[in-house]
Amino acid sequence: MTGWCERQRNILDVALASLRRRRGKNLSLLVVYSLTVFLGASVMFYSAGLKREARLLLSAAPELVVQRLSAGRHDLIPVAYAEGIRTIRGVGTVAPRLWGYYYDAVYGANYTVQVPTLPPPAGEIVIGPGIARLRKVAAGDLLPFLSYRREDLLLQVREILPAESELVSTDLLLLAEADFRALFSFPSGVATDLTVTVRNPQEVATVARKIVERFPDTRPILREEMQATYAAVFDWRGGLLLVLFGVVLLAFIIFAWDKAAGLSAEERREIGILKGIGWETGDILTLKFWEGTSISLTAFLLGTLLAYVHVFLLQAPLLAATLKGWAVLYPDFRLVSRIDAFQLTVLFVLTVIPYTVATLVPSWRAATIDPDSVMRD
């Protein structure tokens, strides 16, 4: 056993020396390879992290939201509907929800204005960290708003939501019902939509069906649907990026094949000499195996570690660009650093195995070079 180890160690030495002799070529290969792994790993870590976050956070969302539709568009719902919904068996509470958007023409930003279940006192607001950043305000400051009657409305910032809640609250403006109605001249007796709690999660779909039967102009949205929407969004987005990644991977494999297949005259001579001094075809194959393995292992380690730093420590600047779009306000959030062995295994299979397969035939070609034909050249 020690003999075998010593032999592999010696061959690895030769392999590393041979890689070093063609530093330029192999370094470029390593860089491209690491970048490929890095891209794939970043996409995987990032979309898995966001999906996880969405699933966990939205598990606290209302079980059911009931909207009213009018001519195919979302319309305000009469609060009286709540009474009818409350009589359906299995329903816990029904609460009108008041929310909407306020467009801040000065900054070009869109706020989400909402009345929470425990609203702040009239005249005061709670704002998300994104708004505080944009408007450079602190707790206690006054913020002016232009109401729908073209009147100025001064609201005092009572509290800024904690930075850890960025992902759900960055553009949030929480206020009292009276202020909400004053700001938007919101008619009384209606709400934006209704939230319904259902004690038994198994019964939510039946409750939703009964709501539509009783109020045909409504549209219930299940919490499961909300979570499924986000899972679908991130799967789809992740899938799209993975397809892009697939193209990159393919390009890289062609590149690797080309590098491995294009033996320089010098390399051929080296192999010829090795054979001449008594190396066998099997030994040369082992040498080639170690050359490939040292490159792919290094690239895999570099790529995944860089992706970890990129996604979890630097907040994925490269991927976040695809998310941020044209908005003025965007969340400044940090994903929970979490990777698992399964992700790494999959990543390994997706990046290292194709590379190994792509370089097998070229390295066999190299190993079966006839020594005397090389020497004679």
Partner: protein
Amino acid sequence: MILEPGILALILLSLITSGTILYALRHIVPILYAWDLKSGSEGQLQLERRTYLLSTLLTWAFVAELTSLLLLVYTAENLHERFTGAMCAAGVFNLNAFGYPALLLKLGNFLLAGCWLVLNRADNSARDYPLIRGKYLFLLVLTVPLLAEGVVLGLYLLNLQPDVITSCCGSLFGSRAVGLGSELAVWPMRPLGLVLLLAYVLNLGSGSFVLRKGRGSYLFALSGLLVLFLGISAILSFVAPYFYELPSHHCPFCLLKADYGYVGYLLCGGLLVGATAAAAVGVLQPFATRPSLRQIIPALQRRAVWLGLTLFTLCFLVATLRIITTDFTLFG
């Protein structure tokens, strides 16, 4: 189908393995026909070179095959949250008709591919390609289950419907259910335990005989396979219940969970790898008398025997220790 990295990786692995096998087939046939070591012709030289390529390619393909077994179980374990009724991998494999056949084919191929790798190792260690016909004939036979596995696995993965309601391990391995798993699960404990113990002792005895006298390889291989089969039945019948401390819970997959310290990987993995080593000892035996292998094969066999015996003994110790130390008892 579900777009999931694990599934993508499994499909990629399966494509690579099948592709390599098909590519290898193209070169095996000429080798089987025209191989003539005494000839120094250009054609023979080409063939000799090809064998290097084939053996490297196939080694990698089989290594991929072995990793994909782990990945398959891992993926199924990972997916169980997505399906109603599935508590663990057992339910995920039961999602459509191809799940369990795919798993069984994979287990069988693991055994066969392991034997082929050992055979290849022996052949490569000798100077005159003594096993060339044997190992490639073996490979020819191996193609059928390997390609079948690729097809069945593909059908399984592509037909995963997220809205199907599956059954949990409780009804799959319960005593009232029908099917292979439940048939094995209801085997009575005492006779099964006794037979298993006998098989193990036989394996131990024949193994030490192989180590000392160099004879009895076939007995060792057969008893090793017997230990695998009986051992899996024993896990379903009483070892798993002892780990769960529940007389009615026979599922082998829940043992793979963190709740039970991943002990299932040790038990099932140990049995499978041990049986593969044992089978390899038997597969090597007919070639042991070839002049160029007279030194190589006994050495290889000895190592395989050690590996098999160590793993089996480890499994036995772990299972027995649990049965002895826990308060729970099935005799009652």
